[in-house]
Symmetry: C2
Subunit: 570 residues, 2 copies
């Protein structure tokens, strides 16, 4: 029947159709009250259309009712229906004490044995009418699950309905699986020698609409390069999109590994310092005065006054030394109100700071810091090999090179290497011995050092006094240089430190020399009037170390929830 | 010669005296030019006085010159002069690689052997003309030093000048000592079986005026009670004075021990969690929105906008769980803009937070938290015995009691114990089963539990839903109570935790039920839309645990540089 040019007959027959539509989706056409002259032609046309619609709806409904009945009948016959489905919200209803399989522990011993596991549904792939492959994910590991209708009638049987249910679970949902581990050969998962044959499959938590897929978020740059030569299409997930949806982004294998390594780096840092007589401290981030420079400090409304966020624990850790704590370290947030929107600036980062009293020479601290980094590098390379390999799949990079005996150069030697290589200052002129070293020249020096000494890690000692803070102790024989040092990784500074001026009179003199009114620094100077032992220390940026070690290219990738001038969420 | 009624003669003779006074302290009287009528009587009197003054000055000067000459001659004869004195400012001039004695390592093996040590000069006590006892201090330990003129002429001889120098070194100065360890019996020091016979004594750093003495700052309350019955006088150092001069205060043995234990507590916390598959996280303290309650959040001027200081890492750690990190913990500052000036409130404290995905039941977390506290208590009692003993000398308290199997009560059971003991609410009426538990009643319950079960540590489970945050998961069978718990030490809450609502729809429902517009919590709810596993966790206040464990009486004593509404310094 054509739906054009309806006749009046059809229009009039419409009311008789209406009862059939009762309770259906199509509403009956309203009767125009007070229209005594009878329906117009247009009105008749409209009615005819609606009658047709109602009829179709009625037919569809009848069909659906029939299907429902059939489905219910089938469901009644679904002998697997107790083996799958969506679980009620987890409220800790019971505790069975079952052991839940962790993917990294799967071994030949599991083969043929029943397991219970909770995992993300990473993806799903039906094969024919009787098999569905499901990829389960736990952190950095994936395991293949096979759901197959075998035809056998036992408690583990799989029904068509169960297969269909499995195909409709949204990706990233959390599922509870019971099954049997089998030996297998699986190329698409990280667990390649085993798979799980699924007997039961429940959804614990259903994921809603996803901002992007884990697969897309896990691609290395080379995948996108392939798009230029191959007939493939991948979605690139930008860094801002990732950070906006950080919960999702954190699930990528690379991120799982990055933040395990971040944690590991802190453990290695503390382990070495604890073994060397250090005490961990927690200094306040709310300060009554701006500690280092007024320009880059965040102001806090503090009841009726103002406080400032600590730009470093510098004074606090030095006060601890003056307070006889001898060797202290702190891992804590550091705040910098710098409006820098670069790949290596954040407004909040994690500072690894330490300070220690020295007996004879600040090189006692230099030696300790060096041994600390070697401990970290060795620890990462051994304990976190799986993580490094995982990260490299998305962010390929050369192995981090370091020597058994760390290369130490003086600042002057570094500058000489740069001059020899023809490096210039920002003005294009050849660099002078006492110039500050630009970021570009630091990177160049890193390359020169790597070529000459085959190391990505080295120390520069004896920086010019003029380019270090006022509290840096000058060299005893040449006041133009100071007892200060920077550590470098892949040509970028990751630690800055020095022997500090512990003598209050000399501290006042230094303040005057650099043009700071000592009155504004009274609190700092006073801390030394009660007698502070000679001491030295340093500060390390956690995210920087991780970023350069793994060559992540952007510091935000080494921070869980990075903060910059434009980002305060999530 | 009397210095009254000077004659004119005397006055006139004054000019002849002037040359003698040249370069002396007394300035010559100015000649009044244009005074043609000759000096007045008053003027003559003045001149006579000045002449007399000048003469005396000249005499004094001659005497001083004589003494100086004598002293220099003596100095020239001082055969010990290379063995003492003030060292130039320590600028890392040389590195000898000598081993510096640490007091805790002193043993019979040192006896008769030479040592080098650096220490604070704690106090000094001369005995007769030939002996000075010096007490040296390193952190919690003191060692007696003996400087004695033996008369023997060797490289280690001590001179009268050296003895005098030693007596004039200001307390709290840092000294470098060379000497020989001898067996001894010393009651006044912590090292009681040995002393050091001093051969060389140099001052590395001189302390300036002290706000109070370490001895006064180290007294237990009982010392002051003795003042009522004995004829003794001690200076009491108030807590504000201590905190104003925290560098000095930190040097007391009790404080040295308290902050070592604070560090140790964090190590024990991490050790247990690392061994149980946790990852350490660092979440941002700068937040784009107030997380829990607008009233008690600090506002930060963030470039042209506003940020807030995190009141807890609640959302961040839950996002990590939604991001598949499974088990996370954080040790970091927590900020509370509460204008509370009590013994147990600070505006910034250290939060020990953890969150973990659960398989079957939130008691998995309860069990883990319990095992964590037992690990901490056992670790403190064994590894920090010396520190606990040291602290008890100033802050005596009963040993902290805990059971091998921790007592767990439901909130209802706790309330029943309180009712039985006749406890009332703030209105004086008997307490109801679902009332909140007041601080007073918490303390009473602590006492009741200690009496009945002999433990200072127990768990209350199943708090009423109404008195917990909206994100707390209700009990599956009785929605009036929730899957939440508090841990108590000495009758005060030190941990609060719960299973969280992980279902976004239910979270919205809960928000509405408690009268919060879900729109204001969109960021929080959205974190769960991507699917978060069921999870639970808790938050611990580091300083509170330390304060209650050691019964310090004021939380500021457990914080290095405490912050409260009235204190932002040092």
């Amino acid at each position: 029947m054509a739906d054009t040019a309806p006749t009046q007959d059809k229009s009039e027959s419409a009311p008789s159709v209406q009862p059939q539509a009762e309770g259906g989706a199509a509403a009956p056409a309203p009767v125009e009250e007070g229209a005594s002259a009878g329906p117009t032609k247009g009105e008749l046309k409209r009615r005819a259309k609606e009658a047709e619609k109602a009829k179709k709806a009625a037919e569809r409904e009848a069909r659906e009712a029939e299907e429902k009945k059939k489905r219910e009948a089938q469901d009644a016959m679904d002998e697997a229906k107790q083996n799958y489905g969506k679980l009620p919200m987890h409220q800790s209803t019971e505790r069975n004490g079952r052991t839940y399989l962790k993917f990294p522990t799967i071994s030949a011993e599991n083969v043929g044995k029943p397991v219970v596991l909770r995992a993300r549904l990473h993806n799903m792939r039906p094969q024919g009418a009787k098999i569905v492959f499901l990829t389960f994910r736990q952190q950095t590991q994936t395991l293949q699950g096979v759901l197959v209708i075998s035809g056998e009638k036992d408690e583990n049987q799989v029904s068509k309905q169960m297969l269909k249910y499995a195909q409709n679970i949204p990706s990233e949902s959390i599922v509870l699986v019971e099954g049997t581990i089998k030996a297998a050969e699986v190329k698409s998962c990280t667990i390649q020698e085993y798979e799980v044959q699924i007997h039961k499959l429940f959804t614990v938590v259903e994921a809603e609409t996803l901002p992007f897929s884990i697969d897309d978020a896990s691609r290395p740059e080379s995948d996108f390069q392939r798009m230029e030569t191959e007939d493939i299409q991948f979605s690139r997930v930008s860094l801002p999109t990732r950070l906006d949806n950080r919960v999702m982004d954190l699930r990528t294998p690379a991120n799982q590994a990055i933040f395990r390594m971040q944690s590991g780096l802190c453990q290695l840092f503390r382990e070495h310092l604890n073994n060397n007589g250090f005490t961990e401290i927690h200094s306040p981030k709310l300060q009554g005065a701006a500690t280092e420079s007024g320009a880059s400090v965040f102001k806090v409304q503090y009841f009726n006054g103002t406080a400032f966020l600590a730009q470093s624990p510098q004074l606090a850790k030095q006060m601890c030394i003056a307070g006889d704590m001898e060797r202290v370290y702190e891992i804590a947030p550091v705040f910098r109100a710098e409006d820098s929107n670069t790949h290596r600036h954040m407004t909040e980062f994690v500072g690894l700071d330490l300070e220690m009293a020295i007996e004879e020479h600040y090189h006692e601290v230099l030696d300790l810091l060096d041994s600390l980094f070697l401990h970290i590098f060795r620890g990462l390379a051994t304990t976190y090999k799986h993580e490094i390999d995982t990260i490299k799949k998305q962010f390929p990079c050369d192995d981090f090179l370091f020597l058994e005996k760390t290369l130490r150069l003086t600042f002057a030697e570094g500058m000489a290497m740069l001059r020899e290589a023809g490096a210039t200052g920002s003005d294009g002129a050849p660099i002078g011995e006492m110039d500050d070293m630009s970021t570009e020249n630091e990177k160049l020096l890193g390359r020169l050092v790597r070529e000459k000494y085959a190391t990505d890690y080295f120390i520069l000692d004896k920086f010019p006094t003029a380019i270090r803070p006022f509290y840096t102790m000058p060299d005893p024989t040449n006041p133009e240089v100071s007892n200060s040092y920077d550590f470098f990784m892949r040509g970028e500074e990751i630690l800055s430190g020095a022997q500090r001026v512990h003598d209050p009179a000399f501290l006042v003199q230094r303040l005057k020399e650099v043009g700071i009114d000592p009155k504004t620094m009274e609190g700092y100077v006073d801390a030394f009037r009660l007698g502070a032992p000679p001491h030295a220390g340093g500060g390390i940026g956690l995210e920087r170390v991780l970023m350069f070690y793994l060559k992540l290219g952007n510091i935000r990738r080494a921070s869980l929830f990075p903060r910059d001038p434009k980002r305060l969420m999530p």
